[in-house]
Amino acid sequence: MYRLLFLQFLRSRAVLASLVLILLLGVISIGIGHQFLSQKKAAIEQVESHQKSHIERNVALHKDDLGLLMYYVQFAFVNSTTHLAGLSIGQSDLNPNVQRITIKNLEGQRYDTDLVNPMNLQSGNLDLSFVLIYLFPLLIIVFTFNLLSEETETGTWRLVSVQTSSKSKYLLTKLSVRVLLIYAVLGVLFTVAKIVLAIPLDLNFMMVVLLSFLYVAFWFALCFFVINYKKNSGFNALLLLSIWLVLLILLPAGINAYLTNKYPVPEALSTMISQRDGYHTKWDTDKKETLQKFYDHYPQFQEFGYPIEGFNWTWYYAMQQMGDDDSAKDTKALRKKMGERETASKQLSAFLPNMHLQLAFNELAGTSLNQHLSFLDATGDFHEELRLFFYPLIFKEESGDSVDWTKFVPKYSDDGKDDKTQLRFMWPLLIATFIMFLGCIIIGRKLH
């Protein structure tokens, strides 16, 4: 019987066509993920080789004047891309994963973006997370909308109800054929992804797989719930598609519009302008005052005194520091607001399985806004570290040769990408699926 149900299901041309379509799109999406990863990898390799030659060249040119040398030398700070990012590109196409900073004023450098065609950003990426979140539910709808109604419409339902002991058991068997098939497709795609993208079999990947299986279960339960009402095929298809439309297109767009309006970030522009003023007005302000402020921030450098005659590096870097100090308040406010936005997004999305899944994927793959923000913070720390190392050397007017440049290789940030207890991602999906299951059971009892 099971075999027959399988054969019967697979005989439909629409079913085969949609299976082929989704497999094809899935494989394309994995290819795109692969492309994305290799581009990022190439960029990082480039950074490695570039930094060495960049430092060597500048040291050779300016080694007698460390202050001037540090004006030019850039240090790379890399947000290493996880292999999972190939599955869920998230926000990482928007946000640069390499920062190259000098020890000068940080704010002016931190927001440099990659060179990208905004059209590409707007279209978004065809990654596996897209296929999974948008297309799998559609496939499930196509597979299930006439599960029951096709029997009533072709008149076989009466036959079935006479011949089988339990109608619901028969329906469940029919459903399980579809479930197995979809899980098989999912399994194939994840296996291909694992091999092509060389994803390590770690907790994060397991979690991605588990969440995907749950998400599929949620949609099956939802569809089963709807078809149990015994309406005709056309109605089922329309209702399910409308649900898909509302859950995947309308509600996210609405929530997004709400969040953007609720947490506007006009500070970005004012941060930049205040940063510029903080720095540039210092050219013309009293040098002593600038130095005084600098020593208030870093009392440990007070021994370098107040050289105010002509141009000197102590004053120059003090001035650079002022730019950051003056905009610190704005920066903080901006960061706070972005944090609020992210938190609110997470809270709201907990109610929508698809939005939750997208955010969870991004976080597991290290491509979320939050992770980019912590990368920016880590960049700040890295910058501070460099400053504190070089400031005294510059102020003491040491030569460029006194520094061991070989240790300044590109540094990697690995924040937030370790396996933490990521189980919390599961709860909203688990609860949603559970509710749908419960609904199915209740309605199943009523109807049969």
Binding site: A14, A17, I32, Q39, Q46, V47, H50, G90, Q91, P96, V98, Y111, D112, T113, D114, L115, V116, N117, M119, N120, L121, Q122, S123, G124, N125, L126, Y134, L135, S233, A237, L238, L241, L245, I249, P252, A253, G254, N256, A257, L259, T260, N261, V265, P266, A268, L269, M272, I273, D277, H280, W283, M338, R341, E342, S345, M355, Q358, T367, S368, N370
Partner: protein, 468 residues
């Protein structure tokens, strides 16, 4: 016959609850979208007006200052919002809105709204263009998928046949009946937008002709979908199949193809990384004159050349300050370097657009998207145009500042400060986007592709339905 078919179809559509509901939903969404966008629009415009004004005030009131200090202090070019961006926001969210103009350096536009957003933003925004480009075709699918299949399922198909109805007449009737609601919604939305826009103060120059052009683009786009959906409905045997196939068409055309296009374009014609780009700029810069460095080879060369030109043998004898002159020459060299490197970027961008165009053969969505953004002045091409204009303004500003120093000081003089009222003499940055004719001309290939889609889908529909 045609009129009767239209009447019957429309009656059936409105009798159907799903149609009433979906029309209601689409209208509601459009209303909300227009409301949200116009609010956002007003806020952004206020912010910009304020930023622009305060920025210019800061510039004008710099007081006595050395012109080159002022050049380093810099100024901002703000990208204005255009009336039709209310309808189509295009790439504005991703492209950055202000460019910092300073000495020696061409900068990218910074502060795109998208960088501050969470992964949710990729689900799309509730804007009119989102509704017009994504939801309306879906609406057509939902209204039209059973246009023919229902006749078969209800058995009215054979009635029609036996009544001797001509195929093309029925098809035309059904076509018009399906297109009418779409036409009504689109026209009313655009009319509404037009009225709102022409009544808002400070909304830039609003032109009805642009709005009409945009409306026509959308109608062509919908005509393509109407044709395809009807064709599928005619071809399919059952409503369910027809729905699935039409929906797959929608997914491929509106969701998958644009995303695939972006990834393919990026893979085939990648932009250089920021680091590569900076390295190339630096290499070219170093090959020429550095305005700040009087000792490099190029500077010496320039010195000899200028001395020979003026027939003097010392820089002190020149009628202008050679330092400032050299600064200007250095600036010109740097501008050339940026011109060259940005041209390379531009080439890559044009090749990427080519990739989009070739994928437009798979998706009528792409040409419609490009045309709509182009007409609204929110496409990447306009962004390039703006950033080129800002660069020209930057170059002019540098010349204005350097010339002032060159005229008013002598070689070797230090500590010169321009008078406090000097800054006002710099004309303000003003940018006019390309006019409608120019936009259409630049997008002629997109127009052609969309036109081709329309014609071919009409032919497909009417040939295949000759016999019903």
């Amino acid at each position: 016959m045609i009129r009767k078919t239209i009447k019957k179809e429309i009656k059936e559509l409105f009798r159907d609850g799903r149609v009433r509901i979906s029309i209601f939903i689409v209208l509601l969404l459009l209303g909300v979208a227009v409301w949200i966008s116009s609010r956002q629009y007003q806020n952004t415009n206020q912010d910009y007006a304020a930023a622009r004004l305060s920025e210019r005030e800061v510039w004008d009131n710099q007081g006595e200052k050395n012109p080159h200090s002022a050049a380093h202090y810099g100024t901002y070019a703000f990208k204005p919002k255009y009336p039709l961006s209310l309808v189509d926001q295009g790439v504005d969210k991703y492209a950055g809105t202000s460019i910092f103009l300073e000495a020696h350096k061409r900068n990218e536009a910074q502060f795109s709204a998208a960088t501050d957003q969470t992964g949710l933003s990729r689900f799309g925004d509730l804007t009119p263009d989102f509704i017009l480009l994504f939801i309306m075709p879906l609406f057509i699918v939902l209204l039209g998928y059973n246009s023919f299949t229902k006749e078969r399922e209800l058995g009215t198909h054979s009635l029609l046949k036996s009544a001797g109805a001509r195929g093309w007449k029925i098809v035309l009737g059904k076509w018009i009946a399906l297109f009418l609601p779409v036409l009504a919604i689109t026209t009313s939305l655009l009319l509404l937008a037009g009225i709102v826009l022409s009544n808002l103060p400070d909304y830039g120059v609003f032109q009805w002709s642009s709005l009409v052009a945009m409306g026509l683009v959308y109608l062509l786009y919908y005509a393509v979908f109407t044709n395809l959906v009807l064709w599928v409905s005619h071809w399919a045997k059952r409503s369910g199949i027809s729905l699935v196939v039409s929906l797959s068409l929608w997914i491929v055309a509106c969701l998958a193809a644009p995303k695939a296009a972006s990834n393919i374009a990026e893979a085939r014609h990648p932009y250089p990384t920021r680091q590569e780009f900076a390295a190339n700029v630096l290499k070219d810069k170093e090959a020429g004159l550095d305005g700040h460095n009087p000792w490099n080879k190029e500077a010496k060369l320039l010195e000899e050349q200028v001395l020979a030109e003026h027939g003097v043998d010392s820089l002190h004898q020149l009628p202008f300050n050679f330092n400032a002159y050299r600064m200007q020459k250095g600036e010109e060299h740097e501008a050339e370097v940026y011109f060259k490197q940005y041209n390379y970027l531009k080439e890559q961008y044009q090749k990427q657009s080519g990739t989009y165009r070739s994928l437009a053969l798979l998706s009528p969505f792409l040409p419609a998207r490009f045309l709509s953004m182009g007409i609204a002045h929110t496409d990447y091409a306009t962004h390039w145009d703006f950033s080129d204009a800002a660069e020209n303004y930057r170059i002019a500003t540098q010349k204005f500042l350097n010339d002032n120093t060159a005229q008013n000081t002598k070689y070797g003089e230090r500590g010169y400060k321009a008078s406090a009222d000097f800054w006002k003499q710099l004309p303000a940055f003003d940018y006019d986007p390309p006019c409608l004719d120019k936009v259409l001309e630049n997008n002629s290939s997109n127009l052609m592709i969309l036109g081709m889609w329309t014609v071919l889908s009409f032919i497909l529909l009417f040939i295949s339905t000759k016999k019903i």
